[in-house]
C-alpha cells in the first residue's frame, strides 16, 4: 500500500509522514487512555465513602477534673482531652519564646486555655504518647512522652525533644455547650 501510494505521488516522504502521524496520534490516544484507566485502580485504595462519613464525635467534658485527661476516639484515632492546671498553662505560655522544632504559641493551640485538645498520635511514626494517666511518664517537659523513639512533648503538646518533627495535631473542634465539644 505504502509503496503504491508513494510511487504514485512520486514523493515517498509524504506518504510516510502521513502514516507516521496516524501512528503517533493513535498511540498517543491509546497511551493516554490506558493511563486514565489506571486511575480507578489507584483511587479505590483511598478512604471509601462510609469511612469518610464517620467524621465527627461529640464528647462530654464535665466529668474531667482539673489535672485529669481522658482519651476519646475520633476517626479511629485517639484524641487527648486535658483539663490543664494553672501551673501547666503558665508553663506553656512562658515557653512560647523557647526554641523548638515547630514553634507555635500556646494561645494558637487552644480555644479555652483550660482545655487542651489534641490528636494523641506521635507525629514521628504514629505511636500513642504516654502521659494521659497520672502514673505515666510525662517526659522532660511535663507533658507527654512517646516511648517508641523517645519524643518529649510539653504541656501544650509541642514537640521539644526527640525525633518527632511536629507538635501534636490540634483537630478541628467546636464547643457546642459549655462543657461539650464536637470534634470534626
Amino acid at each position: 500500500m505504502t509503496d503504491t501510494a508513494s510511487t504514485a505521488s512520486g514523493k515517498p516522504e509524504e506518504g510516510e509522514s502521513r502514516r507516521d502521524f496516524l501512528l503517533l496520534a493513535t498511540s498517543t490516544v491509546g497511551a493516554v487512555g490506558a493511563t486514565l484507566a489506571v486511575w480507578p485502580f489507584v483511587d479505590q485504595m483511598n478512604p471509601a465513602a462510609d469511612t469518610m462519613a464517620l467524621s465527627s464525635t461529640e464528647v462530654d467534658l464535665s466529668p474531667i477534673e482539673e489535672g485529669q485527661s481522658i482519651t476519646a476516639v475520633w476517626r479511629g484515632k485517639p484524641v487527648f482531652l486535658r483539663r490543664r492546671t494553672a501551673a501547666e498553662i503558665e508553663q506553656a505560655t512562658k515557653d512560647d519564646s523557647a526554641s523548638m522544632p515547630d514553634p507555635q504559641t500556646d494561645a494558637a493551640r487552644v480555644q479555652k486555655p483550660e482545655w487542651l485538645i489534641m490528636v494523641g498520635i506521635c507525629t514521628h511514626l504514629g505511636c500513642i504518647p504516654l502521659g494521659q494517666k497520672a502514673s505515666d511518664p510525662k517526659g522532660e517537659f511535663g507533658g507527654w512522652f512517646c516511648p517508641c523513639h523517645g519524643s518529649h512533648y510539653d504541656t501544650s503538646g509541642r514537640i521539644r525533644k526527640g525525633p518527632a518533627p511536629k507538635n501534636l495535631l490540634v483537630p478541628p473542634y467546636t464547643f457546642v455547650g459549655d462543657e461539650t465539644i464536637r470534634i470534626g
Binding site: V73, G76, P101, G126, H149
Partner: protein, 425 residues
C-alpha cells in the same frame, strides 16, 4: 535455558517431547545437561534452599488462607482457632511463621556468599540486581504477613512502618491515607494486606525465574571466582549437585524443624499474642529480627545526630532523613558491581577485602542488636556510628580498597586447581 534435545525410547515421552520439549528443558536447567563448575562449595547450597523455602511458604500459606478471616473483629480469633481447633493447624502455622525466618536466614547467607566470592561482578550484574528486587519483595511480603494475625505488634508495626511514608514532602499524608484506606490502620488496611500478601510470593516466584534465567546464561560463579574455560572445568548438575543440594536440605530441615517443634515462638514477640488495641501502644515496639538492622538505620537519624545536622538538616527533617537512609541501605547493595573496581572476584585472593568483609558482617550484626534496643544511650550513639560505618563500607571502603589492594594470583583454571589439590592429598 536452551540446550541439546535428548532422545527418548519410551513412546509416550517421545510423543510429549516432540510437541513440548519440556524434558529437554528440565534436563538443561537442573539435569545432566546443565554444566556446573566442579568446585562449588556448600555456600552454593543456599540458592536452592531459598527456592525450597519459597515452595514451603506458598504451600503452608495457601492452607492457612483456608482458615483465616481477614477482618479486624475475627482475624486474631481465627488465628487462635487455627492453633487450637483446626487439625494440625498449629503445625502448619508454625511451619509458615518459622519458615519466614528461615527464608531470611538462607537468603542473607546467599547474599553474603555473593559478596564474598564477587558473584555480582561482570557478567552477573543483572543477576545480582534481580536478587536485590527479590529481597525487597520478600521484605514487603513478610511485613504484610506479620500484620495478618492482628496482634499488638502486628498493629503497631504496621502503624509505624506505614507512617514512614508521611515523611514524604507535601503528599506524605495523602500517601499514608491511601495505604490505609482510612484514617488509621484499620479493616481496609488488613484486607488489602491480605490480598497483597497472597499475591507477592508469586511475584517473587516470577523474579526467581528471571534470576535463574540470568544465572544459566553465564553459569554459576565458584569459590575461585574464575571463569569456566571448557568442559574439563564442569560436571553435570545432575547427579552431582542435585545430591549435594539434597544433602544440605537434610541438615537445613533439621535446623528448621528444631524451631518448629521445640522453640516455635523463638523468633516471635509475646506481645503479638495480645489482640491489637488501637488505643494502647506497647512499651517497646520491635520489628521482626530480619528487619532490625534496617530499623536501626531508620532510628539513627535524630536532630541531635551530628551527621544529620551538619550535612542533611538543610534539605530535609530528621524523619525524612531516617526513611531515606533506610531505603538507601537496601538499594545501595544493588550498586556493588560498580562500587567494587577489582577484576578479581573471589576474596580468597583479596585478603584486605576479606578483612573488611568480616568487619562489615560484624557491623550488620551490631546494627541488628541496636535495632532491638530502646532509644536510649548508649544505644543511640552506637547505632549512629554503626550506621555511618555501614554506608562508609559501600561508599568509601569498597571503592578504595578494591582499587588499591594488592591481590593474589588466582589459578589458571578450575580444572588445574582441582587436580593440583588431588595430587597434594
Amino acid at each position: 535455558m536452551s540446550g541439546s534435545k535428548i532422545e527418548f525410547k519410551n513412546p509416550v515421552l517421545k510423543w510429549v517431547e516432540y510437541r513440548l520439549p519440556i524434558f529437554s528443558f528440565i534436563d538443561s536447567s537442573v539435569g545432566s545437561g546443565y554444566p556446573t563448575p566442579r568446585n562449588l562449595s556448600y555456600w552454593w547450597n543456599f540458592g536452592s534452599l531459598a527456592g525450597i523455602v519459597l515452595a514451603i511458604m506458598v504451600v503452608t500459606g495457601i492452607v492457612l488462607a483456608m482458615h483465616y478471616t481477614p477482618h479486624v473483629d475475627y482475624a486474631f480469633l481465627s488465628v487462635e482457632r487455627i492453633m487450637r481447633d483446626v487439625n494440625y493447624g498449629w503445625l502448619i502455622r508454625y511451619l509458615h511463621v518459622n519458615g519466614g525466618s528461615m527464608f531470611f536466614i538462607v537468603v542473607y547467607i546467599h547474599m553474603f556468599r555473593g559478596m564474598f566470592f564477587g558473584s555480582y561482578k561482570e557478567p552477573r550484574e543483572l543477576l545480582w540486581i534481580i536478587g536485590v528486587f527479590i529481597i525487597l519483595a520478600m521484605m514487603a511480603t513478610a511485613f504484610m504477613g506479620y500484620v495478618l494475625p492482628w496482634g499488638q505488634m502486628s498493629f503497631w508495626g504496621a502503624t509505624v512502618i506505614t507512617n514512614l511514608f508521611s515523611a514524604v514532602p507535601f503528599v506524605g499524608e495523602g500517601i499514608v491515607q491511601w495505604l490505609w484506606g482510612g484514617f488509621s490502620v484499620d479493616n481496609p488496611t488488613l484486607n488489602r494486606f491480605f490480598s497483597l500478601h497472597y499475591l507477592l510470593p508469586f511475584v517473587i516466584f516470577a523474579l526467581v525465574f528471571v534470576h535463574l534465567w540470568a544465572l544459566h546464561e553465564h553459569k554459576s560463579n565458584n569459590p575461585l571466582g574464575i571463569d569456566i574455560k571448557g568442559p574439563q572445568d564442569t560436571i553435570p548438575f545432575h547427579p552431582y549437585y542435585t545430591v549435594k543440594d539434597l544433602y544440605g536440605l537434610g541438615w537445613f530441615m533439621m535446623f528448621y524443624l528444631f524451631f518448629v517443634f521445640f522453640a516455635p515462638d523463638f523468633f516471635g514477640e509475646p506481645d503479638n499474642y495480645i489482640e491489637a488495641n488501637p488505643l494502647v501502644t506497647p512499651l517497646h515496639i520491635v520489628p521482626e529480627w530480619y528487619f532490625l538492622p534496617f530499623y536501626a538505620v531508620l532510628r539513627a537519624f535524630t536532630d541531635e545526630f551530628w551527621f544529620f545536622s551538619w550535612f542533611m538538616s538543610w534539605v530535609m527533617d530528621a524523619k525524612l532523613a531516617g526513611v531515606v537512609a533506610m531505603f538507601a541501605s537496601v538499594l545501595i547493595i544493588a550498586l556493588l558491581p560498580w562500587l567494587d573496581g577489582n577484576k578479581v572476584r573471589s576474596m580468597r585472593f583479596r585478603p584486605l577485602s576479606w578483612m573488611f568483609f568480616l568487619i562489615f558482617i560484624a557491623d550488620c550484626i551490631l546494627l541488628g542488636y541496636i535495632g532491638a534496643m530502646t532509644a536510649e544511650e548508649p544505644y543511640v550513639t552506637i547505632g549512629q556510628w554503626a550506621t555511618l560505618y555501614y554506608f562508609a563500607h559501600f561508599l568509601v571502603i569498597v571503592p578504595l580498597v578494591s582499587r588499591l589492594e594488592k591481590t593474589g594470583q588466582p589459578p589458571e583454571s578450575i580444572a588445574a586447581a582441582v587436580t593440583k589439590k588431588t595430587e597434594e592429598v
